[in-house]
Amino acid sequence: MKRISMIMAWVLGLGWTVWAGDGRDTIAEAGTTLAHLEEYHSLQAITDASFRKNPVQRWQQYATNLLEVAAYYNSRGEDEAFVLQAGNRQWAVGGRVDSYYQLGDRNVVWGGASYQQGGRKNVKWNSTSDFQAVYPYVLADSMGGNLDSERYTFYGGCATRLGNWMIGEELTFRAEHEWRTYDPRPRGIVTDLLARLGGAYDWNEYRWGVGAGFHFYKQTNDVDFYQEAGVIPEYQMTGLGEDYERFKGTNNSAYYKAAGWLLDVNILPQDCKGIWFAAEMGLSPYRRVITTLNALPISKLNVWDYSATAGWNAPSGRWYALAGMKLQRRLGNELIAGSSSSNDYQELGYLTMYRNRFLNINGVGGWNMAGFETRVEAGFQNYKATYEYPSREMSFSKVYGRIDARWKKMLGEGGKLSVSGYAAYYHNIDDELQMPYALMDEARAAMVRQCALMAQSSYLTAGGGARYDWLPRWKAPFGVFIDLQGGYRGNKETSGYEVSASAGLFF
């Protein structure tokens, strides 16, 4: 009954209400819970979590159970936007719940939910939500403006052990709404679902796992004009400042649809000590369909993601190291639209006009000791985007180094303070920008120059923060925490800040 209640609670995103009333176990574990928070917040845990995407690999990810409920606020701002299409100010305030529970000796479940409201300021050359997912095929105008948004997320998963076999499944869902209340008035409504299945077999001290995932994405996107003052043209952007000239103007209503997949393979030591390996590949094919042109699919963007990482965790638990690569390829296939009859266009074929490749290779080393941990990373990035005709190209290569450190100490009765900091420098070693400026209007040329300037600049980022967890002795079934973080990012052109604050309860 308890198990069923928990699963239902996670599904409804109300896990905390159930567990707030069931405090006996957590009081009994109170003495260790505070210490065991470490396994959730340590630098190594955060690093490991980014590779444990297959649900079966979340088995034994943590030795203790945790339910955390928090309210949060985060914000960033820049004098000039690092990414023009993302705006130069962003803020969000919301609440979240996250949980991880071991149920008996055969099941692990985890889940969470969040809701947030936020906004962005001075968004330019982008009237579409989820720019990072669907670029460069976005609707855009030269005016831009501020945007409001709200977002819901839910996720939940389960890993089950059956002898030497394990199976796992996980569902992640996001719904997002973004809008503006003055002309031009873009509106984007996003639903994004990722379902993952995994299986693993324990053999020879290792857990050999494979998994598959299915990605379903939909965004409806339109731009309206309500004022009598008139309208400005909306462009169907196609990459590096180019747009689909034939359909610019008033074709302001479109939707994106993707049904993608991913595959992963991973080999982890059963006791998490020793050499491990994880690799994943996936495809998300985003079709952009113009609603007002009788559902004309004017572009198909195939986003390929590849990653492979190999690492080593020392038997002592004090050292770890890993090396890996991530590669994203974006292939933009654009429709050759034929003759039209009453807004019904022939589909003559497609041409792959836009190509983009972003490669990141890195190596990480980490060291833990009582009260202090540090992590050092060095890497190389290579980015290249091309447009077939008129020929355009933007590329850069960077080398970077990053250091993280975290210091923790029991402070006060039932309290623990952890202070962390980081610094990273990304140094540009090579770049290229080729544009047919003679064919571009002034606004378009300025936009491309600004985007290239920001992408190709060397930059520094640094920050730090503190988190205080307090588990009171007055028999409350929960502890409280407050977390404050701040950071700086700057290049020779501009600089910006990032701040985040969260506070809540943990059980």
Binding site: Y201, W203, W208, V210, E242, Y244, E245, R246, W261, L263, V265, M281, L283, P285, K300, N302, W304, L331, N333, E334, I336, A337, G338, S339, L348, G349, Y350, L351, T352, E388, Y389, P390, L439
Partner: protein, 129 residues
């Protein structure tokens, strides 16, 4: 052990099939196009001087040529797609009566598909006084 081998093989086959099946790149970008002007039945074209301009409807890019091979202008390496065509110039013709005359002329099409390799388009010329 056999099972592990089986899983590995299936994974590789599925990954390979999906990779090969979905990585649809369309790289047949360019073609050559021959634009030929056709005279009315009653006249015969002796020589043409003029400009043929083709404009790609997809990206509004224009190409122009005034190099005539008889009644034909050839564009090498143009992006495949829908085009509009405008030809204007001067033609020396022979009438049915055998008289040699010089006329300005125009020929145009608001839509032509440059998709085949090569593409041939014929336009009816309009003789002006």
């Amino acid at each position: 052990m056999k099972l592990l081998k089986y899983i590995t093989v299936v994974f590789c086959v599925v990954a390979g099939a999906l990779t090969g099946g979905c990585d649809d790149e369309y790289t047949d970008y360019y073609t050559s196009a021959e634009v030929t002007v056709v005279a009315p039945d009653t006249v015969q074209i002796l020589q043409i001087q003029g400009v043929c301009a083709v404009t790609c409807l997809s990206n509004d890019m224009s190409y122009q040529s005034s190099t005539w091979n008889g009644k034909t202008v050839t564009f090498n390496n143009v992006l495949r797609g829908p085009y509009s065509i405008l030809v204007s110039g001067t033609a020396m013709i022979t009438t049915r009566a055998g008289r040699r005359e010089v006329h300005n002329f125009r020929a145009s099409s608001s839509y032509a598909e440059f998709m085949e390799h090569p593409t041939s388009v014929e336009l009816q010329m309009l003789l002006l006084q």
